[in-house]
Amino acid sequence: MIKCLIWDLDNTLFTGVYLEAPDQRPGADPGRSAVLAELAGRGILQAIASKNPPEAAQYASELTGHEFASVQCGWGAKSAAVSAVLDDLGLVPDEVAFVDDEAMERAQVAFALPDVLVLAPEDLADAAQWPQFSPPVVTAEARRRGELYAERRVRRDEAAAFGGSADEFLRYSGTQVRIALADLADLARLHELPVRTHQFNSTGVPVAAKTFAELFSSAGHQVITVRLSDKFGDDGLVGGCVIGTADRSWRVQLLMMSCRALGRGVIGGLLAWLCLAARQAGASQVVVACVINRRNVPLRIALTSAGFRADADLAADQPPWARADDQGRIAAYVIGLDQPRPDLPDWVTPA
């Protein structure tokens, strides 16, 4: 699934060359601007990789009325600009498409980053109809994604200028992580998260909305939502988990978090809450079944940093909805609750 379209500006999004005539700037190509608006409406981020001064990106925002999620202006290789967008947004190459009118630029990006979908502007209208540009579910959170990344830029600039520790910045920003039991209104977003999250996803398997609905009413399960906001903006529902609570060993069958929430106290807060809630419910340990794949290494780092340990002797039994044939091996990450665990950070409001 494509999460971000990266635009060249001159003769691609613009009808001409920005620097050619300072007193007569080019307009926006109407057909391509329409594609931009359509894809943004589907929750696909829009970014810029342009050999122009940064003012050109500002101008593109004014022309299209769109806040770009990441802007890379400069005269280096286009592949370097595309890589900078990936770093900026926390995406991997097969999640982005790049559109440029210059065949040389397209070839350079295709050679350096073979997993990026490279398009000529004339292919754009067709490509927008391809399945990889059509996410199955589009929620309010997804549609607001571009704005959320723009808020993130402001937050990041303030964080860079901030003198204190990371935790102090979370407090200064008024970070609020709210953990709650899921209800029916959360169904669409919960269904969307497993499709959209990779780096913090314990199963890597899509989950049908019907499955979540059944889990809501199952006595042996809790479906948990995590919401995030701070003074810069409201990110809405950024993560969640499904916990089997039937016995004294709580089993986390699915744990997922948007990479947008990285570095904002969410995953650590959720893991601390899990330990606290399990302990209060009389459980002796928490087990997170986590598939071992290339993409979710960040989740495994978060788990082990929080004190969870992979236990080879513990079966990581997963229900059918959380399994797939090509999923690879699953490890059980366990934490005992007999010893004190990290306190719940003060920015977390527990369920």
């Binding site: 780096q199 570095g263 290494v297 780092i301 082990t304 992979a310």
Partner: protein, 90 residues
């Protein structure tokens, strides 16, 4: 990759990868006991994952697959030792 690559060579190469990842050349002089995450080099979980991708490309050792608990990510030295050990073991 030569199986003769020694621990100190891995350590020096690892420091170069880290300097590239963080954009901070001071990392080149960091002692082996420097933690990789948080208070040390300051990698976050995504940074740690990126480091392991680079390590696999450079040394052919898939740390993420072989070290389920990622204990090797404790310090620059533990990661270098893990990589050097796997390289001589093949």
């Amino acid at each position: 990759m030569s199986a003769a690559t020694s621990g100190p060579e891995v350590l020096a190469e690892l420091a170069r990868i880290l300097a590239e990842l963080t954009g901070d050349s001071a990392v080149l002089d960091a002692p082996p006991g420097t933690p990789l995450l948080r208070d040390g080099i300051g990698l976050n979980s995504v940074g740690g994952a990126l480091l392991l991708v680079r390590v696999q490309a450079r040394f052919g050792v898939d740390v993420a697959d072989e070290d389920l608990n990622l204990d090797s990510l404790a310090t620059i030295g533990t990661l270098a030792a893990f990589v050097a050990d796997r390289m001589t073991g093949r």
